[in-house]
């Protein structure tokens, strides 16, 4: 039996990598992919505990998260396309109209 903590550690590592990706990369597409990583890390967490505690709720919630991630990516990429059409750039730090 793999101890739960291992899974949790994995989840934490993936989460961290995702966070670093979000905070560090300029390319918006990569940022969105990093967000997917984060969500997946959370999914791992949920499934682990669902198995541990014997409740199927965890998995159901994980399905919802996947659904949600899909929707979010769809919209996000739509925005990206619109943004690209207007600005000819996909770099996050070049879109700073709300700058002081």
């Amino acid at each position: 039996m793999i101890p739960t903590s291992n899974y949790l550690m994995l989840s934490a590592v993936l989460f961290t990598i995702g966070v670093i990706g979000v905070l560090t990369r300029r390319n918006i597409v990569i940022i969105l992919m990093s967000i997917e990583l984060i969500l997946n890390a959370v999914n791992i967490n949920l499934v682990v505990f669902s198995r541990q505690l014997g409740s199927v709720a965890g998995q159901v919630f994980a399905i919802f998260i996947i659904t949600d991630a899909a929707a979010e990516v769809v919209v996000g990429l739509g925005i990206l396309i619109a943004l690209f059409r207007n600005r000819e750039t996909v770099n996050a730090d070049e879109i700073d109209l709300l700058k002081w």
Binding site: V19, V22, I95, K99, W100
Partner: protein, 683 residues
């Protein structure tokens, strides 16, 4: 208390009738027909005349004293005050009327002659514009004059005095679009005003000295306070009152307005400046005879001024060429006679001459108006002549009046003028010198009057052809008054035929209760010197006839003689013709000085008041406003801007947080998580 007889009880209606029609003309005259206006205005004066006759009749039949007072209401109460002699007095200026022989004579003359002139005006002013205005003013004048003569106290008399002055101004300037007429009106009023200032001071002095202003009470107060003859305060009062008379009655030196007053329509000249208004001064002196009797110095002044004015004005009348101007100077001269009479104590004689003068002078003016009307507006006697056959009624009545004024025996002027001359020769205050001046004036009067007659009606016609076609006798509305006045000029003197000629001098006797003791003294003198009187009478008649003959000689016989005489004495002639340059002297001495004062005041007003005051205050306002604006811009706005600056200063670092860089925001979220976790883990 016996009820007053009807006409005396209704005494107050006599001035009221014309006042009512004057008010009517003021309010609605513009829209009334000429015929209605004539009917109303002349009718009201006729009513006044009827009531005057009635009052006179009833006065005669009063038992006891011939004096009656009718008080309408108390007008101005003066409250208690201390007179100059320490008495505690209070009086009330009433709206009250006094009827005694003197005022009875006056109202008969004023309303009678006034009515005749009103009727004449219907014809004379018939084609003029402003018909209602003329009659309105004329009626207003009648109201003022009647109030003046009927007043029972000197304050109400002053109301009438001012009223006649106002109407004189309004009527002289009737043709107000003519510059000369407007100026003449102003001149009359202003010169009158100068006299009025003296009059007012006299009134004040009477009030404070005697404690009363009522004509019946002044003699009582004089007796009570034991004023001696020649008391300085009485002399002062009488002199001040006389100053008023000088202005109103055109004596030296305030006569200058009367010749200019001929700018007004001829009926105005006849009524106001011959028969009535100018005589108000004489009436006023006569009314206050109680005061004058106590001031022989003033009486002397009055007589001298009267005499000098008489001869002075006559000298100027010798050379004037405007028919009305000659008559104007004649009026001044005859007024001088009236004051001469009052000055020597012969008040009754003065009033007698006042009444006869009213008849023949009014006739002379109306006649001249008829001549002017016939000649289509010509007033220069150098352009007249040969009118005797053309306008017979006018000519004949004019001749009657000329004879009367010259003092030809049998006519009214003879009796009144002679009485004055006799009293100035032989009366207790008389003076041979004054008599001599009077006789000289009588001669000059004869001369200038008949110069006028001969040049106007006789000799070769000197008018143009167009005028010739125009000549016509005046309508009946104008000639009938002339005839009536001619009749009065003849018969008006028969009430005053002196004892020396067999008459009973009823006029003098009638006025005896008014003038009292003086008349007695005069009568006493009369008794002793009948022959002297007749001698003087003949002498003055001869002098008058001499004057007439000289006029005949110069103007009908040797018509070239006047020019030769003028050429020889050209300087003297010029002096007379230019009226002794008095108007010019007055201009330099007074008129221009007042104008200069006015200019100086105007300069002060413009420079100081408008300049410093108005402009200054505007400058001050603008200056304050600019300072205020500066404060607002720099201090107030500065504070606001400083506030904003500081907020910006403080916000600068805070602002930098918002970089528009989304990942930065994400980092701050993670940072927050870090801190939170750290806090909970390290607890």
């Amino acid at each position: 208390m016996n009820p007053l007889p009807f006409f005396i009880d209704k005494l107050w209606l006599i001035p009221l009738f014309p006042a009512a029609t004057a008010l009517l003309m003021l309010l609605s005259g513009r829209w009334l027909q000429n015929r209605l206006i004539s009917l109303l205005c002349c009718g009201s004066v006729f009513l006044s005349f009827l009531f005057s006759v009635g009052a006179f009749w009833q006065l005669l039949s009063l038992p006891g004293e011939r004096i009656a007072e009718k008080i309408l209401f108390d007008w101005i109460p003066a409250g208690s005050f201390l007179t100059s002699s320490g008495h505690l007095s209070s009086f009330t200026a009433q709206w009250g009327f006094l009827l005694d022989p003197l005022s009875a004579v006056m109202i008969l003359v004023v309303s009678g002659v006034g009515f005749i002139i009103h009727v004449y005006s219907i014809g004379y002013m018939g084609h003029e514009g402003g018909y209602y205005r003329f009659f309105g003013f004329l009626n207003l004048f009648m109201f003022s004059m009647l109030t003046l003569v009927l007043a029972n106290n000197i304050v109400l008399m002053f109301v009438g005095w001012e009223g006649v002055g106002l109407c004189s101004y309004l009527l002289i300037g009737f043709y107000f679009l003519r510059r000369s007429a407007a100026d003449a009106g102003k001149k009359a009023f202003i010169v009158n005003r100068i006299g009025d200032s003296g009059f007012l001071l006299g009134i004040f002095l009477i009030a404070t000295t005697l404690g009363t202003i009522n004509f019946r009470q002044i003699p009582l107060a004089l007796e009570e306070m034991h004023f001696s003859v020649g008391a300085p305060v009485i002399t002062a009062i009488t002199l001040l009152l006389f100053v008023g008379a000088i202005g109103k009655s055109a004596q030296l030196p305030l006569y200058v307005w009367l010749p200019d007053a001929m700018e007004g329509p001829t009926p105005v000249s006849a009524l106001i400046h011959a028969a009535t208004m100018v005589t108000a001064g004489v009436y006023m002196v006569a009314r206050n005879h109680a005061l004058y009797s106590l001031a022989p110095t003033t009486m002397h002044v009055v007589a001298v001024v009267g005499a000098l004015t008489a001869v002075y004005a006559a000298s100027m009348g010798l050379v004037q060429n405007d028919i009305k101007r000659v008559l104007a100077y004649s009026t001044i001269s005859q007024l001088g006679y009236m004051f001469l009479a009052c000055g020597v104590g012969a008040f009754a004689a003065g009033i007698f001459h006042l009444s006869t003068h009213a008849y023949f002078k009014a006739l002379l003016f109306l006649g001249s108006g008829s001549v002017i009307h016939a000649l289509g507006g010509e007033q220069d006697i150098r352009k007249m002549g040969g009118l005797w056959k053309k306008i017979p009624v006018t000519a004949k009545t004019f001749l009657v009046a000329a004879l009367a004024i010259a003092g030809i025996p049998g006519l009214s002027g003879f009796f009144s003028k002679d009485e004055i001359l006799w009293q100035s020769f032989a009366g207790p205050l008389g003076n041979r010198a004054l008599w001599a001046i009077g006789v000289l004036t009588a001669g000059m009067t004869g001369f200038y009057m008949f110069r006028l007659v001969f040049k106007t009606f006789f000799g070769q016609p000197r008018y143009s052809h167009e005028v010739d076609h125009h000549i016509h006798e005046s309508p009946r509305s104008m000639t009938i008054p002339l005839v009536i006045l001619a009749f009065l000029s003849v018969a008006g003197g028969w009430v005053g035929i002196p004892a020396v000629l067999g008459g009973s001098n009823r006029f003098e006797h009638f006025l005896q209760p008014v003038f009292g003791r003086r008349a007695d003294v005069v009568l006493a003198v009369n008794m002793h010197a009948h022959t002297q009187e007749i001698q003087l009478m003949i002498f003055s008649v001869l002098v008058a006839v001499l004057g007439i003959f000289l006029a005949y000689y110069f103007y009908l016989r040797r018509t070239d003689a006047p020019e030769k005489l003028v050429a020889r004495f050209s300087a003297g002639y010029r002096l007379l013709y230019r009226k002794y340059y008095v108007d010019e002297v007055y201009d330099v001495l007074f008129v221009n000085r007042f104008k200069d004062a006015g200019t100086a005041l105007a300069a002060f007003d413009l420079g100081v008041i408008d300049g410093w005051g108005v402009d200054g205050s505007s400058w001050l306002t603008r200056f304050t406003a600019s300072r205020s604006m500066w404060t607002d811009n720099w201090i107030v706005d500065g504070a606001v801007r400083a506030f904003g600056f500081f907020v910006r200063l403080l916000s600068y670092p805070v602002r930098m947080i918002q970089a528009g860089f989304v990942q930065g925001y994400a980092l701050s979220i993670v940072l927050g998580v870090l801190l939170l976790l750290g806090y909970y883990l390290l607890r």
